[in-house]
């Protein structure tokens, strides 16, 4: 654990909900501050909270808008939405807004504690993470990010052959996609009992993992505005910032298909080696 206590904001217009949330998390050594709406929370962001537990539906400024505004300024704060709507659409909307997790109302003690522990663990990992020396596998892909797109795919194919684990393969996919200006992507690879999920910042958030788990069986490609979900064999991608330009989007999708084909081949080979 780091020495500084974790700072938590609880944002909900309903005083009763706030009281119950605060009671549930009070056995942790947190510095807790309560707010009645999103605007109040934004006004206090200079306190640099580590975690925000935020209701979705609030007057003045709702949770999604508040989260979007926060994420424009910092990626350091973990936003966990609290809502009574337990639907995939609601969760996708929370993901699009930049949320890391979703807690369903009425709050269950075990669930909130479990999810907070995951968030704290990720925060600690991030805070204590040493400056990473770039791995030879990743660096080349980034270095050629200005090269033409076919070169990126070819380079990916070459580098993927050097990967020794599905974790490395997942990280390589994330890095390669940066070459197509897909700066924030989440990858999930499922391989004989093992599942690995990571994103452009490192570990995938619980909300990203939940969405990829749920969306893996719903079709090969699903597009919604700037978001794309693609499933290919044991590999799923959740891409946040697809181009608005139809032509460019189509081109990127073609490259994605090629890249995934290569990734699947490597995954099959890794599985064979494992056996």
């Amino acid at each position: 654990m780091s020495e500084e206590p974790i700072k938590v904001f609880v944002v909900d217009d309903d005083a009763l909900s706030r009281m119950i949330i605060v009671d549930e998390i009070s056995d942790h050594d947190f510095i807790i501050t309560e707010f009645e709406d999103g605007q109040q929370c934004l006004n206090a962001m200079d306190q640099a909270p580590d975690i925000i537990l935020m209701d979705v539906e609030m007057p003045i400024m709702n949770g999604h808008t508040t989260c979007r505004t926060i994420k424009e300024k910092t990626q350091e704060t973990v936003v966990m939405f609290i809502s009574s709507h337990d639907t995939i659409d609601e969760k996708l909307a929370g993901y699009d807004a930049g949320g890391s997790d979703y807690i369903i109302k009425p709050i269950q003690s075990t669930e909130i504690k479990q999810k907070l522990n995951i968030a704290i663990k990720n925060i600690e990992l991030r805070k204590n993470k040493p400056t990473e020396a770039p791995s030879s596998i990743k660096t080349t892909v980034v270095a050629i990010s200005n090269a033409n797109e076919q070169d990126i795919i070819l380079d990916f194919m070459r580098r993927s052959a050097l990967t020794k684990s599905i974790q490395q393969l997942a990280e390589l996919i994330v890095e390669a996609l940066k070459g197509f200006d897909l700066l924030y992507t989440t990858v999930q690879i499922r391989s004989s009992g093992d599942t690995v999920s990571c994103n452009s910042l490192g570990s995938a958030s619980p909300l990203e993992i939940e969405l990829l788990d749920k969306l893996q069986s719903t079709g090969q490609v699903q597009e919604h505005r700037h978001r794309l979900v693609t499933n290919s064999g044991g590999i799923s991608l959740l891409i946040q910032n697809m181009s608005k330009d139809d032509g460019k989007r189509g081109q990127v999708q073609e490259h994605l298909a090629l890249l995934l084909e290569g990734a699947e081949a490597r995954l099959a080979s890794l599985e064979t080696n494992k056996k």
């Binding site: 309903d14 009281m19 119950i20 009671d23 007057p59 109302k105 009425p106």
Partner: protein
Amino acid sequence: MLPVNDKNTSEPIESSGAAVIDRVALRERFLNRDDFIKKIARIALSSLDKYSVILQQAEKDKNIEQVTFSTHTLKGISGNISATIVEDCAAEIEALSRDNDPLAYEKVPYLFSLLKQLKNEIKEILNT
């Protein structure tokens, strides 16, 4: 389905009279901490009053957005105090109002009758 006021007025429809708070579930949820339950009950009572007024005004003004907002919050409060019947009723009106269905207004009187009973039961908790 919830009862609908045939006269299409704001006259309250009486609820069945059965308890709306599941006291066993409530005590279980908050680990039999009676002092904390009383604290919750006090806040719930004041929040129910606040959002009932908003709902009443929304119904009068035929303001569907405010019906959605107030029933959403009333749903949350009832859920937190283990009053599932009230929570379900508020949820149904919330869903109707999100679909812009005028039936939402017709169901509001029944919700008010449940809320009245809920407040009485909360007062009982506070007096024990």
